[in-house]
Symmetry: C2
Subunit: 366 residues, 2 copies
DNA sequence: TTGTACGCGTTATCAC
DNA sequence: GTGATAACGCGTACAA
C-alpha cells in the first residue's frame, strides 16, 4: 500500500472500493430517537434519562431504561465521540506483536485502560520508519485520546515532537541515553545491555559475541560497546550479528556463524529466543554451556527460566512499568501535566537475573 | 468494573469522570472548513477536491491539496464514520494475549486488514463469559465493520447469534463438533486432540494424562476422551488436570501432581508451554523422555521444536487460516455472502508433527 | 421536569 | 465546476 502521502491515501480511500454505493441491508440499529418515539418523548429526555440525570422524572427514567432494554438499544460511540471530542480509544503501536514482553505490556495496559472505559487500537510497524509514521497518522486521524508507542530507535522524532506539540497525549515505551522526543516511561536498555556484557567481561571473557535485531536494538548495542570499553576489551565488529527477528532459528543460525571459527567464549543476545536458539546449537555441537560457552539473554521470559540450562537474562518489572505508563498517560489526558518544553522521562532500571548459563556461581543459582 | 448492565455502564460513563467540564487546551485540529476559508472556497469543494473527484477543477484541486499539506490537515475519521456508517475498524476478541498462536493470528490478520484501510481494535476476555459479552457490546457500540472472535467454548451463543442476525459481519476463529452460532473459520481442536491422544495410545500407552485450560479447551478434552474410547482405554478423571493459564510453571506443577504417584507413562498437554514445563519436571526428577514419559503438546511453537527433547505437537497452518478468515469476513462485509440461516463453516484440519518426545521413530525424526 | 435548537466534521444531494 | 443545505446520532444550552 502507498505509504507515501498516507494522508492522501486516507482521504481518497473511498474511491478505491465500491462499497459506498451498495445497498446496505443492515437492519437499522435502534437510536435514541426510536425509543423516544416509542414513548412519545423528545430525544433529549431519552438522552438525559439514559445517563441517569437527576433532572429527569424517576418514573420516565425507568420507562426509558425499560424500553431501551426491550429494543436492545446500544449507544453509538461514534456519534458520541464526535460531539464530546473524545473517542475513548487509546492507540498502541509496537514493532512486532511476536515480542512477548511488548505484547505482555500491551495486555496489561489494555486491562488497566478498560477499567476506565477506554479501548485499545493496536498497530504494528515491523520496525519500519514509514509504517510507524503511518500508524501515528492513522491514530491521530481516528482522534484517539492517547498513544502508547514503542518507538524504533530514533525514527520519526520530528513527527513525535509535533504530535506532542499538538497536545495529543503520548507516552513512549522505549528510549535510551538521549533526549526523548516525548514523555516516556521505559526500561533503560542501554543499562541492561551494559550490565549483561560487563558481567560476562568480569567473569573473564574477552571475546564476547553479540546478536541484535537491528535499529530497534541500538541502545543495547551501545550498552554492549560501552561495557567492553570500560572493561578494557577492544570492540570487534566480527563478533556482532544482526538478525531480522527474534526467533530461536535466528539464534541458532547466528551461533553457527559466530562460534564455528572458534575463539568466542561468551554470547550476549538481545533476546532470550536468540539466546535459546544459540543454546540449542551448542548442545548439538557438543559444546557445554556455560563451560565452553557462556550465554546471557534479554527479557527473562519464562522459557529462559525453564530452559535446559536455565538462562541468565536481563529483567525488569513489566507490571511496574505499565502502571507508571498508564498513570502518566492519564495525567497527560487530564492535563494535570501540561506539555512542558522538557518531556517527562521515567526510567526503570533493569537487573541481571543470574542463572546457570553464564557460569557464575551465585548463591541463588538454579 | 460493573459488567452487569454494561450498556448502562457505557451510557452513564460520563458521570463518573470529571473531564467533561475541563477546558480543553488542545490546539484546534484543522478541519476542511479551515482550508476552505483559507482559499475562499466552500467546504464542499474542499471535500471533493481532497478525494480527487473529477467534478472539480484540476487547478483548485491542486490548490486544496497544497493548503491541506501546509496546514497539516488530517481528516477526522470519526466524522467520516458517522456519515458513511462505516468505521473501518475491525474488532478482535481473544481470551488471552499471551497465547502465541492466537496473537500470531491477530498479527497476520492485522496486516491483511491494514492493506485495505482497516484498523484493529483488540480486546481480551480472559475466557470469562461476561467479559466476552461486554467486549462484543463495546465493539457493536463502536460500530465496527466486522468482528473476529476466539470464542470460549459455547459461551454467549445467543448473543453471537443476535449479532449475526443484526447483519454485523463476524467470523469465529474457534469451534468444534457442534453447530457454530455464526460463520466460522477454525482449526478443529477436537481432531487435533484426538490425533495426539490416539498416537500415544497406539504407541502402547494406557495411562495417558491430560492437562487442559478449562472451558476454552473443551473440544480438546472431548477429543482426548474420544481417542481413549476408540482405543479401548477407560477414561480416568484422576489423570486430568485443569490449569488457569498456559505457562511452563503450570505444566511443571501439574507434572509433579500427575507423575509422582507413578503409573502414568504418557502426557498430552493442551499447550506446548504446559508440555515443556512438564518436560522440565521430568528432567529434574531423572525421568527420561520419551523412554519413561512420552509427551505431546499442542500448537507447535518454535519453543517445541527447539526444546531439549524436541516436542511432538499438534500443528496447523496459521497463515492459511487467517487468509480464509479475512476472505470470509470481506465477503460478509460486502454482502456477497448473505447471512444465511445456516452459518458458513470452514474447518482446517490439524496434523501431528512428530518429533522425539513421544518415542515414535519416524523417518524424519529430529 | 421536559422540549427546542444548535453544533460536532464530514459526506451527499441538489441546485446554480 | 461550485456552493448551499441537509443529513449522520448524540450532547447540551437554553426555553418553556
Amino acid at each position: 500500500m502507498p505509504l507515501q502521502n498516507c494522508i492522501e491515501c486516507m482521504i481518497s480511500f473511498n474511491d478505491r472500493n465500491g462499497l459506498t454505493t451498495e445497498v446496505s441491508k443492515v437492519s437499522k440499529r435502534v437510536r435514541q430517537e426510536d425509543i423516544a418515539k416509542e414513548l412519545g418523548l423528545s430525544i433529549n429526555s431519552v438522552s438525559l434519562a439514559l445517563k441517569n440525570s437527576k433532572r429527569i422524572n424517576e418514573e420516565t427514567r425507568q420507562r426509558v431504561h425499560q424500553v431501551a432494554k426491550e429494543l436492545n438499544y446500544i449507544p453509538n460511540s461514534i456519534a458520541r465521540s464526535l460531539v464530546e471530542k473524545k473517542s475513548k480509544i487509546i492507540g498502541f503501536i509496537l514493532p512486532k506483536i511476536t515480542n512477548p514482553v511488548q505484547i505482555e505490556t500491551a495486555q496489561l495496559i489494555e486491562r488497566k485502560l478498560m477499567a476506565n472505559g477506554y479501548n485499545m487500537m493496536l498497530m504494528t510497524t515491523d520496525s519500519d520508519r514509514d509504517y510507524e509514521s503511518f500508524a501515528l497518522d492513522i491514530l491521530v486521524s481516528r482522534q484517539v485520546d492517547g498513544i502508547f508507542l514503542f518507538p524504533t530507535n530514533k525514527q520519526n522524532q520530528d513527527k513525535i515532537r509535533s504530535i506532542r506539540n499538538a497536545h495529543i497525549p503520548m507516552v513512549l515505551l522505549s528510549g535510551g541515553n538521549y533526549e526523548p522526543a516525548s514523555d516516556s516511561v521505559y526500561m533503560n536498555q542501554f543499562k541492561g545491555a551494559y550490565k549483561a556484557a560487563s558481567h560476562l567481561a568480569q567473569l573473564g571473557h574477552r571475546q564476547i559475541a553479540f546478536i541484535h535485531g537491528g535499529p530497534a536494538n541500538m541502545e543495547k548495542y551501545t550498552g554492549y560497546q560501552a561495557a567492553l570499553k570500560d572493561n578494557g576489551i577492544e570492540f570487534d565488529e566480527e563478533l556482532v550479528i544482526t538478525v531480522d527477528n527474534y526467533s530461536y532459528e535466528q539464534g541458532y543460525l547466528s551461533a553457527a556463524k559466530l562460534f564455528s571459527k572458534g575463539g568466542v567464549t561468551a554470547l550476549f543476545a538481545s533476546s532470550d529466543y536468540l539466546a535459546l536458539g544459540a543454546l540449542r546449537w551448542c548442545r548439538e555441537q557438543g559444546m557445554r554451556v556455560p563451560e565452553d560457552m557462556a550465554i546471557v539473554g534479554f527479557d527473562d521470559l519464562e522459557a529462559a527460566q525453564y530452559a535446559e540450562i536455565p538462562l541468565t537474562s536481563v529483567t525488569y518489572k513489566v507490571e511496574e512499568l505499565t502502571t507508571l505508563a498508564v498513570e502518566l498517560l492519564y495525567r497527560l489526558i487530564t492535563e494535570e501535566e501540561q506539555a512542558k518544553s522538557k518531556p517527562i522521562r521515567i526510567e526503570i532500571e533493569p537487573t541481571l537475573q543470574i542463572r546457570s548459563s553464564c557460569g557464575y556461581k551465585s548463591k541463588n543459582r538454579q
